[in-house]
Symmetry: C2
Subunit: 245 residues, 2 copies
């Protein structure tokens, strides 16, 4: 099952026809990108909506003097910006971290969805609202949390999101970000990211080595990061997820 379907089904129950529609769209117009290349650039006219099929990517913005901020991460199953094509130009860039494959979803696909696939439309709204909530949480993260809280929080978020897409097991996941990436995402310097990771390691909250992240005690990491998963809205009618589901 595709990561997208898997993720959306955490929120909305999709029909066989819904799943078929999504899987069909995900199989057309596929492109692949090498690591550390741009999928789209600030200033360009947005044409399609991108669905991440595999690999990690990020959205970033850059100041004239070169300072760069990663403003979000894209994991498999994530959709870049619903309806972005109504805007004139991109206000940010999208770049890959690892090798990435994407499917380009044209405008017509969304017309079809809103005409005949109400459950998918609802699921897409959920995706949009959750992305907005994540962005708000990042604002909170950068504005109020200390370096180690911030790092712990980010690791929790990525772990939860990977798990939602079926990409993490009980306590570990593949983790391709470099310390430089983490620095650009957290607004910390590379050196301080290193110090912060050492600190989390020393507290036995993380094991991070060779592109693999292990979280031996998720509960403790969550409380170290003041992480409350409510903003991910991992619940569907009549059901609540706990930290382990």
């Amino acid at each position: 099952m595709s990561h997208l379907v898997r993720k959306l089904e955490n929120f909305v129950r999709l029909s066989a026809a819904d799943r078929l529609m999504l899987n069909r769209a995900a199989a057309q117009r596929v492109r692949t990108f090498a690591p550390r290349t741009d999928i789209a650039r600030e200033g360009e006219k947005p044409k399609d909506v991108h669905l991440i099929l595999n690999g990690w990517a990020c959205r970033y913005k850059q100041l004239e003097d070169g300072r760069r901020q990663i403003v979000s991460f894209f994991l498999p199953g994530d959709i870049c910006d619903l309806n972005i094509f109504i805007l004139r130009e991109m206000d940010h860039s999208i770049g890959t971290i690892t090798p990435v494959s994407i499917a380009d979803l044209p405008r017509e696909f969304f017309d079809e969805i809103s005409a005949g696939y109400p459950r998918i439309a609802t699921a897409f709204w959920w995706e949009t609202l959750v992305n907005a909530a994540i962005q708000r949480e990042w604002t909170m993260n950068l504005g109020q949390r200390t370096a180690s809280e911030r790092m712990a929080h980010l690791l929790c978020e990525l772990f939860f999101r990977l798990r939602l897409a079926g990409l993490a097991d009980d306590s570990s996941c593949s983790f391709p970000l470099t310390q430089a990436d983490l620095a650009e995402a957290t607004g910390l310097s590379k050196v301080h990211v290193n110090r912060t990771l050492q600190e989390l390691r020393a507290s036995n909250l993380i094991v991070l080595k060779g592109k693999m992240l292990v979280l031996p005690d998720l509960e403790r990491l969550m409380s170290a990061g003041l992480f409350n998963a409510n903003y991910l809205h991992l619940d569907r009618e009549g059901r609540q997820l706990d930290a382990n589901e």
Copy 2:
């Protein structure tokens, strides 16, 4: 003309019927709130979408230990969270800064829009996408800009947004935020906000006194804040806005 209509018409040309529909919705189910009170609280079930008719409000999040972050400001004409009612519970609170009046927009209103008012639907998508872009820009602001750049940037943003809703003249606007509000929005301490404002004053970039903000040289303030208005997407087919329109 209402602030909402005025703002949306910067992006989409609305018909008389569109404007009537919006103004009618804005006149029903109106509520007023005193300054410094909550319109909605984290954890509650969202019921309606709120449209700000008058006054300033903000979205904020709070950590268990009391640290508070303002994650966005709402100005007259702003809509709080389109389609928020599909989520189980609020992941943030909405509070007033000044006295505020709002109109509650029920689910059925949006059903009507998507059934019979395509231009409004597009305008609402624009609103949603711009809000997302603003939130990303705040991430950038908190992650990369220094205190004075950050403050300059925030003031530019608020000024542009007020102007868009018809609430600012050439170089000044009403400005009800306290230094404590600015601190919660920028992730700085109150004392440092004060220092930063003094610095901007000393450079003749702002005059801020008694709830009134004057920007004697917007161009210079923009460059001090590395402010690029592209993320506000102030453009419509066949037209570009410059800093003074």
